[in-house]
Amino acid sequence: MQKDRTVPGHDVPVVLATDGAHGPVVHAASAAARARDVHIGARVADAQAIHPDLHVEPADPDGDAAMLDRLALWARRWCPWTARDGAEGIVLDTTGAAHLFGGEAALLRDMADRFAMQGLTARLAMAPTRGAAQAMARHGAAFGICAAGEVEKAIAPLPVGALRLDAETVRLLDRLGLRTVGALGAVPRTALMRRFAGLAADRNPLVLLDRATGRLPDPLNAPADRARRIVRTRLAEPVMDAAPHLAELAARLCTDLSDAGEGARLLRLTVYRIDGDCRSSDVATACASREPDHLLRLLHGRLDRIDPGFGFDLLTLEVLRVEPLDAGQPGLDGARDPDADVSALLDRLTARLGPDRVRWSAWRQSHVPERVERRVPALGAVPADPPDPARERPVRLLDPAEEVRVIYAVPEGPPARFVWRRVEFDVLRREGPERIAPEWWCDRPGTRLRDYYKVEVRDGRRFWIYREGLAQDGRGGAPRWFLHGAFA
């Protein structure tokens, strides 16, 4: 959701576009767009040709799925078993919960009201089986409630696609003249079984029909809430220093994590001050860990960044991000795992110096030397092998390159003598030029090319200097010279 973007009004047709085989296609359409006969799956270019005022936004399926997951958890206000259903639905098992809201019809009305309060339009249906409820919500009347024993009658008029069949099977059934669920149910079971014997259970019309009518079980697999890993220490009197209490907190937390087979990646230490304020500090680890000593050392480094005010009387240590971590078997020789040692070192360095100071190298394809290498925070990255440059590159690179004054044969001769940092150098040997052109796709217009020379001066030092631009390239005055690095 982008808050600073102007939202089109209800009367403006809006479609979401996704990439298709021949350009963007309509992924979803608003009510105003559907009223103008914009079909899902149509090409956006065609729709825009017919309706020039069509508002097109890119679709975000991952964001939709995450939103539905959150909504499914929120829907546990009505019943304990909820799950996301496909890309556009939520299924709730309200068995034994409807009477709490005054009956099934009242429950559905409550749901519709609360979704509307969030600005969401919901199509709701309730049925004794999951398949029937899915079919009725998508293809039946709004607020449809199907009583027990009337399932077959309720879904009979719906199209066969309501059984969540894939498009290929629907087309096949359509060719066979079976257009409604009722027509499908009227076909003898043995014939259907024989005809669709090769299909998997989730595509087989007979299996799906049996699930919808309750002949086959169709249980709901609701994701469990992730347990919060948090430990607290309540103090009788406010204190100023958290250090004496950390060891016990870390030990308790690690016991919890060990029981659950998990390790911490992100920890938050919070102190609740007596003036009602609370202060917290986060500590990240390079790989999942549940060693109390290691976590304790990380936390000790953060204590000086927590302002205790006039003291605090409650301390909590919470794991914000966990990862599964199986118990490891230490070697019988007592040797420590070198990889674990390095990741523990990464944690300590990062906790003290900050994530942007402890970095691995990452690479990208470029001919401009300073763009090849960039540094990425070591937490959450893995070191990659460096590229093999076609030509020799310096061992050290000055960033930014330092301007030098050079005597050279005008207009494009090699450097003969240069002054850098107020010292004069005679060039005895040189190699070059190696011409590196600006990258027009990301450089500003007017960027000048570079001619690099590897030069050796009298005392043996080998430098990399370049001339920026040519004399008559129309991108500025006389070329300038820069010293960019030092060779081995």
Binding site: L345, R359, E392, K454, R461
Partner: protein
Amino acid sequence: MEVRLSVLAVPDKFFVHGEPVARRASRVAPHGIFLGTKREHNGRMTRDSPYDRVIRLSDRRCGSAGRSGSSACLPGGEVLQEALPVHAADASATALILASLSGARRPVLWVADRMSRRENGLLYTPGLRRLRPFGSILHVEVNHPRDVLWAMEEGAACGGLSAVVGEIHGAPSVLSFTATKRLALRAEASGVPVWLIRSADPAGLSAARARWRVSARPSDAHPHDPGAPGGPVWEADLFRARARPPGRWKVHHDPSASEPADRLRMVSRSADGSLEGDRAERSDGTRT
């Protein structure tokens, strides 16, 4: 006092881990010697090496003239060493250290303070291809030399690294004898080689076990272009060492050698720059 020897160069009756070298011939190059773990041998303590390495004997010992004592003077081995670049913005110390790490596979911790990065430039990994192979480099870029020393101490205590290299520019007050002593003790306890690059430093007190002055020398001839610089040549001046005699060497780097340890070729020099003749007699590493 424990005598720490760089190399035990007795090729005809050399034992590794108590067995004759011949049994491990596949791991020992011709005229090669093997650096094993620390053990008593012939009543002397051989120097341990974190990685099994074969180091060539000097060519002179093998019959050819011109070089001497290359195996006894290789940088590396000692726990805390210092490299002092003679000139500013000279990459030779960086390259010499990385070349001596060649062959190690574990990550290298590289810590630099702000002034070093500004004066000497950033370490540019694509340019290290000829010095490889060594482990990936973990860059720690801090502002103050105090943080450099702290990060180096943390790294020196971590057995999972192949080396720790720190760069400090100038002679800040935090880089005292005590600080280097702490580093040396940490490194001795864990066995991780630690290098300290002190640029623009007047070589004050230090507890480093070996101190090198490194500068660039005019390079070798280019194989194809007489007007172009060729393979790098450095001058390494070991002006203080605890367990070996000091000396000066002209160091050539040859990336085409098959064994990583063979790539550094060190030619002994006397103070006036001429080749030195009698230093080879001490190349077996005994203390004279």
